[in-house]
Structures are given as structure tokens and as C-alpha cells.
């Protein structure tokens, strides 16, 4: 088999193949390296700590092994139920409205008219603004005593007296969702807009020839085509919302009376307000578990789309 040069047949097996491709790994090394650095140890540490009791009166080195005690404490606590409902409400509705508004905006913007670029730009602004700034802006707009929103509604005669949103257990979460939707709908819009630009013109023309009206063209041609990008958008938003910390924390700190407390604010509160790092770690692990389930679908959606792309 060997002839004039010294080329030898490639060694087989996984290690052989890894050795073959060793140069390829150099390309991803920096990315994987920094990821590992920032993620691996914290994950390990969080899991580890979740089995320890760390009351504020004890130094970290004196922590007490507690088995799954922290998990039991969380899952049986009264607030867990309430906070979980808040989390679901916050995540689902934020995602739903952001996607719905984004879809609407994308459909309207997906036609030619003068000033389209400017309009698109204006609609994108909330997305770029920092969550800290956005939280302050909206807190000021909502302000129960000096808020402009209350003043406008008063002037329009819709309400009489002060508009109490952030200091109201029933309205605080919906009000925060509005802020979150304001911040996120442009992302959905731009994703879907990108998706719309790949809808084949021929298909729409064919549907028109077949006598389909605008609505039916949307329903039977555009929407099915958008399925992939919609799934990705929804999942990205879902994950982002589940992890969203800044808006509820800065605007209300989870209050009043826990009405806007979600998992992530609880975790921060337990860790840094109540200094129970063990308990907070266990809470985080529960959040991880939920994330991993969602993450499974998320990654599948991302790479599933990838497969479609490769075939297409």
C-alpha cells in the first residue's frame, strides 16, 4: 500500500479522528475556553453549595451539610407557590405579547413605503436601551404620585384620582410585563421581519392567482413559512424572560408584598438580601432544571433549523 512517500493509512477510532482534526479544535478553543471558564466552575459551585445550610451567622467555611434539605425548604415554602405563579405569568405573557406585537409590526413593515427604514429604526429603540435606564424611565412614567400616565388618564377622564400601578398587588405584575414587552417586542419584530423576507414571492403570487385574499395568504402561505423563526423567537424570549432580573428588581424589588417576585428576584434576594447562599444555590438548581428542559427544545429548534438550512 505504501508507495513512494511515507504516507500511512489514518488510524481509525475516535481518538484517531480527534487527532486528525486537532487543528480544527484550535478554532473553537478560545470560545469554548472562555465559556468553560465562566460557566463550569460556577455550575459546579452552585450544585455543591445547594446541599449546604449557610445561615448568615456562619462563615462560609463552617457551612453545614444539609442533604436535600434546602430543596425541601424551597418546595414546601408558602412563597414558592406564589412566586412560581408570578414567574409563569411574567414569562408567558411577556413572551406572548412581545411576539404578537413583533409579528404585527413585522407584517406592517414588510411592505414598501416611504420612511420604512426610519420607522423600523424608531421601533427598534427600546430594544437597545439599557434595562437599567428603561426601568427608571418607566418607574417615572408609572409613578403613583407624579406619573405622567396617571395624569394623562385623568385628563382623558378614564380614571379619577391617582393611578396606582406599582404599589398595587394586582396591577404591578401586568405593569412590569408592559415594560418588558416594550423592551422586547422589537427583537421579535426584527427576527420575524427577517423571516418574512425569505417568504418566496412566487408562493404569494401563486396564492393570489388562486384567489386567496390578504388574510388567507397570510394564514396559508406566510405563517407556515414563519414557523421556524417564530419557534426560535419564542424560545429565545422565553429563556430571556425567565432569567430577567433588572426590570422587576429596579422597579419594585419584587414588591409590593411579593406581588412581582419571580424566581430570579427571589434567588437574588435569598442570596444577597438574606445571605443564604446554600438556599439560593438550591433555588438556582431548580431553575436550571427547568431551563434544561426548555433548553433541550431551544437547542433542538436552533439546530433543527440549521438542518433545514443545510438541506435548502
Amino acid at each position: 500500500m505504501n508507495s513512494s512517500t511515507g504516507r500511512k493509512p489514518t488510524p481509525r477510532g475516535l481518538f484517531g479522528r480527534i487527532a486528525d482534526h486537532r487543528l480544527d479544535y484550535l478554532y473553537i478553543l478560545p470560545a469554548i475556553g472562555v465559556m468553560l471558564l465562566v460557566i463550569a466552575y460556577p455550575i459546579y459551585y452552585t450544585f455543591y453549595l445547594s446541599f449546604f445550610r449557610t445561615p448568615p451567622s456562619l462563615a462560609m467555611s463552617d457551612k453545614v451539610f444539609n442533604g436535600i434539605g434546602n430543596y425541601i425548604t424551597i418546595l414546601t415554602s408558602e412563597s414558592f407557590h406564589e412566586v412560581t405563579i408570578n414567574t409563569v405569568v411574567w414569562t408567558v405573557w411577556s413572551t406572548f405579547f412581545a411576539t404578537a406585537l413583533g409579528l404585527g409590526a413585522a407584517l406592517v413593515l414588510n411592505r414598501q413605503f416611504a420612511g420604512r427604514g426610519v420607522l423600523r429604526g424608531l421601533l427598534l429603540i427600546p430594544y437597545v436601551i439599557s434595562a437599567v435606564a428603561a426601568s427608571y424611565i418607566w418607574r417615572w412614567i408609572y409613578h403613583s404620585d407624579f406619573g405622567v400616565l396617571g395624569a394623562i388618564l385623568n385628563r382623558l377622564g378614564i380614571i379619577d384620582g391617582k393611578l396606582n400601578l406599582l404599589d398595587n398587588v394586582n396591577l404591578v405584575l401586568p405593569s412590569l410585563i408592559v415594560v418588558n414587552v416594550w423592551k422586547e417586542f422589537p427583537f421579535a419584530m426584527i427576527m420575524i421581519l427577517a423571516g418574512l423576507q425569505t417568504v418566496p414571492d412566487q408562493l404569494l403570487k401563486a396564492a393570489r392567482v388562486d384567489g386567496a385574499g390578504a388574510f388567507h395568504r397570510f394564514l396559508h402561505v406566510t405563517l407556515p413559512h414563519l414557523k421556524g423563526v417564530m419557534v426560535i423567537t419564542v424560545l429565545l424570549l422565553f429563556v430571556a424572560n425567565l432569567n430577567h432580573f433588572t426590570i422587576p428588581w429596579i422597579m419594585t424589588g419584587g414588591g409590593p408584598a411579593g406581588a412581582s417576585d419571580i424566581w430570579i428576584t427571589q434567588i437574588y434576594q435569598i442570596a444577597f438580601g438574606r445571605i443564604r447562599f446554600g438556599l439560593a444555590s438550591a433555588y438556582s438548581v431548580i431553575l436550571f432544571a427547568v431551563m434544561v428542559v426548555i433548553g433541550y427544545f431551544y437547542v433542538r429548534a436552533l439546530t433543527g433549523n440549521d438542518d433545514v438550512r443545510r438541506r435548502g
Binding site: 451567622s57 396606582n164 404599589d167 424589588g253 414588591g255 409590593p256 445571605i275
Partner: protein, 496 residues
């Protein structure tokens, strides 16, 4: 040596000094919390007395500290503190600048890497830093915070004697806040009590005596209602945000006054084991809050998201009649009024003119106020970034806790933690120039420190505010909210 330091034990005071000036001052009710082994005798502690001792001495800080650490000592230390910020009066900025200038002159070879951190950020940062063994060598912390670090063994032992001073020269309540397991973990730098501030203009508008503050908390509730009904403005500046230090600073005086508390910190000899958060007194205080916020709607609606800082604006804008605030509030307000322009300026100056200081109202049981201030601590070398230069740390601590700088750094907003500071020429200057200083200073003997236990921050910053929010949002009744808080405090003390 000093008459103001008394050895009398366990005295409960009858009538503390309405120190002074303002006609608004009323005689205080029974006060306690001051007297264990050493104590300042509130009977001698009158405004006249304070004035009489002020201006007698001009201590030489460099000379005093040279006994502890030689002035040519060479070293370095990291130092974190909550110093003046954007909203602070300019005078305070100047005092800190002077402090650093004097320090550099006295100890030219000790390099201090000082970080002025925000009040809201500092506690979390310090916790994380201590955990990661990245704590500073020296930190000056608000009075409540040190306990937690001491409990975790993250502080070095540090008493006034370690830097050449005497324990008797510091307020007993303040020493209590740095004592844990019979060991001393820090030195008080400054101590203050808040005062009751009102806008005489709004009082007049509402048909109230503009020069007379409400004497009891029950009256505050009535005044607030009347002001709101007559003027449409907010009566009392109630705050109930969670995780905001100034919520308990405003609620606890009312709870103690009515005979309640978080633990038994308001008792003559607190054990910090009993839970008072669900007693009649605390419930009465919560009921007062409920009456103002829910029943009468006579306070800012935004109270549940607001911190005290957000009450400053409406007060200055003539929209809010009564607040509990720092001694420095007047200076701050004056400062801000001066910065205003045009019509705003005239209006703001008007409000400042109408500002009145009085004692914190009494409850059914007593008159009380939070004994506040700061302590300076040296961290445990194990938790410090790099090697801890103990000599440099001591030099810095000595320098700032002496009579000179404990007075000057407390210039606008507080009082010297080192009581020798009251005799200095600088104290005299303060009394001569700062309006209402005597009023807030006269509240000092009524001060009760927060429980110096590791659980304190959680009780004060989370459990108490949550109790208020539960009641004010009507998620729970007042009774349920108090019972709920009691349950949480008990769970906490049981090591949950």
C-alpha cells in the same frame, strides 16, 4: 474627667433634654436603652450643658495617634466607606477633602486606597468581597452591618483601647452595636439620631399650628389626614420599600414608641432572644401605617416603591408636610434650594424657611428613635486582599475616631462617636452654624440601636418591610401580617 460620662447603672430617664432652641421642642417621654455599664446621663445632657462644654479643647490628633503608630510609619491599607455623594451638601465634601489632606500630612508614608461606595451597593459588595477574601483592610460601616461580619469571624477584634482611646469616651449604645460574644469588633465613628421635620407652611394651610409638631404618633395620623383633606397634599412621608435600609429607620421608632419592637432591643436589658414583632405595640404601629396609607390615603401612594430619598423631592416641592429625616436634611435641602433657578428657587427657599425640626413623636409607651451612625472595623487578615498591614490600619482608625475627625467628618449630618469631640472648638462651631443641630442631638439619649445580631439585616430590611407591605396592600390584615412576621423571625432565630 468628663462630667458627661457617668457610671450610673441602668437608669431610665424621666425627661430628657429638650435641648434647646426651637420652640418646637417638647419634653421627651421615658427613654431607655442607654444604660448598661457606662452611660451618658441624659439629665446632665441638656442643650445648655452641651453648649457649655463645647469649645474647651482643641486636641492634637497627630500627637495622640503618634502614641499608637509612629508618624513616619510606612505602609498601605485599603479602606471602604460610605462617604459624601452627589446629593450631599458641599460642606461635607469639603470636610472629607480636608480629612484626606490632614491624613496625608500626618502619615505621609501610609498609602490609603480609599473607595467611597454607595450606601445601597456596599453591603452586598462587602459580603461578596469577604467571601472571596477580597475585603478591604478597614471599612467604615453603618451601625447595623458589622454584626454579620463579626458573627462570621470576618473581622479582627478592635476596641478603642487598641488605638489609644477609652471605651468610656464612646456612647454605650454605640459600643453595644460593636460588641458580640463579649468581644469588641469595632469603634464607633459617629452617632446620630433622626428628627421629625415638618413644613410649617403646609401646617398653616391645613389649619394646624405651624409651630407645633404632633406629640404622639396618633396625632401624626390625625395631622396627616387633616393635611391631606384640607390641602390635597401628602401628610406624612411614609416609606415601606423592601430591601431599603431607611424603611426600618422610620418604622422602628414608631414601633418602639408604641411598646413594640423586632426583638426585645427596646427593653432595659435586651436579650435579643425574645420576639416582639407581634406584640400589641408593634401591631399598633402597623395599624397607624395602615390607617394613613389605606384608610385615610393621606400619604404618598408610591410609599411601597419609594425610599426616603424619594420623599425629599416632594417635601422640597411643597407637596409633603412631614418626614423623619437626618439632622443633615436641612443643610441638604438648603443646598438644593440654592441650586434651583428662577421661580423654583423662590418656592424652594420658601419651603426651607418653613422647615421645622422637632423631636420624634411619642407612642403610648415612650419616645424612641433609632440610634444610628457608623462604626469602623478592621477585617480579619484571612479575608483581606493581600497582606493586612495592621499598623497602617490602626493609624487610620485612630486618626478618624479621635475627637477631631469624629467631629469634623460628622459635621453636617451626625455627631462625634468619640464623646470628647463634644468639648472641642469644632463642636462649638457646629452648634453656632448648623440650624437644628441641637434638636437632633438631643434625641441621642432616646436612641435605641438595632439588635447587634447577624440576623438583624434580614429582620430589619426584609421581614419588617414585608410585614408593612402585606398590611398596606391588604394582602393580610394587620394581625396576620404581624403574626406572619413573628413566624419568620422565629424561623430565622432558630437557624433556618
Amino acid at each position: 474627667m468628663f462630667a458627661l460620662i457617668s457610671a450610673r447603672k441602668g437608669r431610665t430617664l424621666g425627661g430628657v433634654g429638650a435641648l434647646l432652641v426651637s420652640s418646637a421642642m417638647l419634653v421627651a417621654g421615658p427613654v431607655s436603652a442607654q444604660g448598661s455599664d457606662t452611660g451618658v446621663d441624659p439629665e446632665t445632657w441638656t442643650p445648655e450643658y452641651v453648649r457649655s462644654i463645647a469649645g474647651q479643647t482643641e486636641p492634637n490628633t497627630a500627637e495622640e495617634c503618634s502614641q499608637v503608630v509612629p508618624l513616619d510609619y510606612s505602609g498601605s491599607v485599603d479602606y471602604w466607606y460610605v462617604g459624601p455623594n452627589e446629593a450631599s451638601p458641599e460642606l461635607e465634601h469639603k470636610m472629607y477633602d480636608d480629612f484626606w489632606a490632614a491624613w496625608e500630612e500626618t502619615y505621609p508614608n501610609i498609602e490609603v486606597n480609599a473607595q467611597n461606595l454607595g450606601y445601597n451597593d456596599m453591603l452586598n459588595k462587602l459580603r461578596t468581597a469577604a467571601l472571596g477574601n477580597a475585603a478591604p483592610g478597614v471599612a467604615r460601616l453603618p451601625i447595623l452591618w458589622g454584626s454579620e461580619f463579626a458573627a462570621k469571624g470576618q473581622l479582627s477584634e478592635l476596641s478603642p483601647e487598641d488605638v489609644g482611646y477609652k471605651t468610656e469616651n464612646f456612647w454605650p449604645g454605640a459600643m453595644k452595636s460593636v460588641t458580640q460574644n463579649n468581644k469588641v469588633w469595632g469603634i464607633p465613628t459617629n452617632n446620630e439620631t433622626m428628627a421629625f421635620i415638618w413644613n410649617a407652611g403646609i401646617f398653616e394651610e391645613a389649619g394646624l399650628d405651624p409651630e407645633k409638631a404632633p406629640d404622639t404618633w396618633a396625632e401624626v395620623v390625625e395631622y396627616s389626614k387633616q393635611i391631606n383633606e384640607k390641602t390635597g397634599k401628602a401628610g406624612y412621608g411614609l416609606v415601606a420599600r423592601v430591601n431599603a435600609g431607611n424603611t426600618p429607620f422610620r418604622f422602628m421608632p414608631m414601633a418602639w414608641g408604641e411598646g413594640g419592637g423586632a426583638l426585645d432591643e427596646a427593653s432595659d436589658s435586651p436579650s435579643y432572644q425574645e420576639v416582639w414583632v407581634n406584640n400589641d405595640g408593634t401591631r399598633r404601629a402597623v395599624q397607624n401605617y395602615y390607617d394613613m396609607y389605606v384608610r385615610d390615603k393621606s400619604v404618598p401612594v408610591s410609599a411601597l416603591t419609594n425610599t426616603q430619598t424619594e420623599n425629599q423631592d416632594p417635601f422640597l416641592a411643597n407637596q409633603l408636610a412631614m418626614v423623619i429625616a437626618h439632622p443633615s436634611e436641612y443643610a441638604t435641602m438648603l443646598d438644593r434650594a440654592n441650586k434651583a433657578t428662577g421661580d423654583d428657587k423662590a418656592a424652594a427657599m420658601q419651603v426651607v424657611d418653613n422647615m421645622r425640626y422637632g423631636m420624634i413623636p411619642r407612642g403610648e409607651d415612650r419616645r424612641a428613635v433609632v440610634f444610628g451612625g457608623s462604626n469602623v472595623h478592621i477585617f480579619n487578615p484571612d479575608n483581606v486582599d493581600g497582606d493586612l498591614d495592621m499598623e497602617a490600619a490602626k493609624a487610620l482608625v485612630c486618626f478618624m475616631t479621635g475627637p477631631e475627625w469624629s467631629t469634623k467628618l460628622a459635621w453636617v449630618s451626625s455627631n462625634p462617636g468619640n464623646t470628647r469631640g463634644f468639648e472641642t472648638v469644632w463642636m462649638k462651631e457646629r452648634l453656632d452654624t448648623i440650624k437644628f443641630l441641637d434638636v437632633s442631638t438631643s434625641m441621642l439619649p432616646s436612641g435605641i440601636p438595632f439588635p447587634p445580631v447577624a440576623e438583624s439585616p434580614e429582620i430589619m430590611n426584609i421581614i419588617i418591610p414585608e410585614m408593612l407591605q402585606n398590611a398596606l396592600t391588604e394582602k393580610m390584615t394587620v394581625e396576620e401580617a404581624a403574626a406572619d412576621a413573628e413566624k419568620k423571625v422565629n424561623a430565622l432565630l432558630n437557624g433556618m
